[in-house]
Amino acid sequence: MLKHIIRRLAVTVPVLIGVTFIVFAMVSFAPGDPINLMLGSETANPENIEKLRVELGLDKPWYVQYADYMARLARGDLGRSITFRRPVATQIKERLPNTLILATASAVIALIIALPLGVIAAAKPQSVFDYVCSTLAIVGVSLPGFYLGLLLIIAFGLKLHWLPIRGMSGLDAGFLEFARHIVLPAITLGASMAGILTRLTRACVLETLAQDYIRTARAKGVAEKVVLYKHALRNALLPVVTTLGMQFGSLMGGAVITETIFSWPGLGMLAVNAVKQRDIPLIQGTVLVFAVGFVLVTLATDLLYIFIDPRIKYE
């Protein structure tokens, strides 16, 4: 097992290097001078252009730039945002927890929806319940996040006035206020995940129900509910939780849209604003954090998998 863990960690290293290189090289692949890209159509005087070029180290050859970049990364320095004139790392540190809170809430909502729906669908395959649950699942996957978000805003915010439609409330303002602010964004972000997980839960429970030990349980007269929720669901949970971990990255990607709609002060909104301002250090920083976070979550899921399931014997 230790050998596998070490190997799994070793594979992550080249991937992380590849990620940093792509983020670093993004600027060089762009057509035209990155300086012009950042300054846009503004008529900056040549002196300022030269100053910015030196500040960003763009006057050196690319391998020196990359080495510098990696050295700065190692020190936790992600550069300075051009629009905000503040260190990128500080801004990310402020925003990242908000995105993690939102993503976690969405994952929880997705599980709350997906597990019962999946089990109900699997309990009576090809029945009306199955049909309804499976259709709901595919609807969840097909609904564009921004559309669902705006519909929820129209319905619960503007027509019914039940819930706030913008911003975030810290826990210091009370849990209720926090929950009221997070519920719409979390549903918006979690809907497609709920769809994916419903289908997966259904499939896994169906597969488990065909196993011998389920027949044994039924034969000894265990109540059907117990068979479903205790025997079948528990065994189906492993792939569901793994998929949730693997899909955490796409949740964070979806946060870009959800945060924009609900003005949620997270990393996604920061990234969108950075792109709008063409603030290249900030774009690079946010993309890098998203990617590294994704790699680490996947790694954690993989490692957790080894601990949870003793049957898994990797070669």
Partner: protein, 294 residues
């Protein structure tokens, strides 16, 4: 029975079996019909659309649905919403098909090479796949779009180039299992070159899962391009792209929610119908794959 007749009979039974399997999936049929409607609307847009999608009528903005001459009403510039939706289907379908073509062609070639040659080539391609998989999809796309600037052309190639790894992984796995079969050994023995073996002997045998994935890739490409349009990084107004239309409409969310509801519904329906078709295709073409996924 001559060989050719036997061939014909064989193909017919296969087609019939496929048809039976596909139509057994009721939602698949519904999806196919809806896709057909969208395709017809896109192809015949100039004849079907009641108005010019760009023609403004500043005297009659934000008309409700049912206004004479404007079945779905007008937008903030007095443009006919229905006509804009119909023309919008051209953009979304075009983007979906082009993106999937680029991604599947690129991914299939790399997957073939990677699986067939193995060794360091395989290692290199697979590491690249992992690196691509490390970025949340939309984040990477937005960042690249920011550098190249928003346009329909950029949307298509950026989404295409970013989506290839899925196909590469799929094809590689298939090639690995095919490589050891008699099929490839026999081709080698008769002196076929690598390229010939890969594209004439191996490729046809790995196409089925690629087709299924491509069908399911179209809706996700449409969804991604609509998201880009919504964020303002994709196709730009006044082009009637559905995502961009929703984005324009959100400034009038209180005054005229129709501007959001209709284009959003179109995106949802086209994505949903392609998903239905993709699911049915998977069940019909590749029962093995479907068992894995269901």
């Amino acid at each position: 029975m001559s060989n050719m007749e036997r061939e014909v009979v064989h193909i017919e039974t296969q087609t019939i079996r496929f048809g039976k399997m596909f139509t057994r999936h009721r939602l698949g049929v519904v999806g196919a019909v809806m896709v057909a409607i969208f395709v017809l609307a896109a192809v015949f847009a100039p004849w079907v659309a009641p108005c010019d999608p760009y023609a403004m009528d500043l005297a009659n903005p934000n008309q409700p649905p049912g206004t004479p001459g404007h079945i779905l009403g007008t937008d903030n510039f007095g443009r006919d919403i229905l006509s804009r939706l119909i023309y919008g289907s051209r953009i979304s379908l075009l983007i979906g098909v082009v993106v999937v073509s680029i991604a599947s062609a690129l991914g299939t070639c790399l997957g073939l090479i990677s699986g067939y040659y193995g060794g360091w080539v395989d290692q290199a391609v697979m590491r690249l796949v992992e690196v691509f998989y490390s970025f949340p999809f939309l984040i990477l796309v937005i960042a690249v779009m920011a550098l190249f600037g928003p346009s329909i052309f950029n949307v298509m190639w950026v989404l295409g180039v970013v989506s290839w790894p899925m196909y590469a992984r799929l094809v590689r796995a298939q090639v690995l299992s095919l490589k050891t079969t008699d099929l490839v050994q026999a081709a080698k023995a008769t002196g076929c070159g690598d390229a010939r073996i890969m594209f004439k002997h191996v490729l046809p045998n790995v196409l089925t899962p690629v087709i299924v994935s491509a069908t399911l890739g179209i809706p996700s490409a449409i969804l991604s391009s609509a998201s880009l349009g919504f964020l303002g990084f994709g196709v730009q107004p006044p082009t009637p792209e559905w995502g961009a239309m929703v984005s324009e409409g959100k400034d009038f969310i209180l005054l005229n929610p129709n501007l959001i509801v209709w284009p959003g519904l179109c995106i949802f329906l086209v994505v949903l119908s392609f998903n239905f078709v993709g699911d049915a295709l998977r069940d019909a073409l590749d029962p093995r794959l479907s068992r894995q996924l269901h």
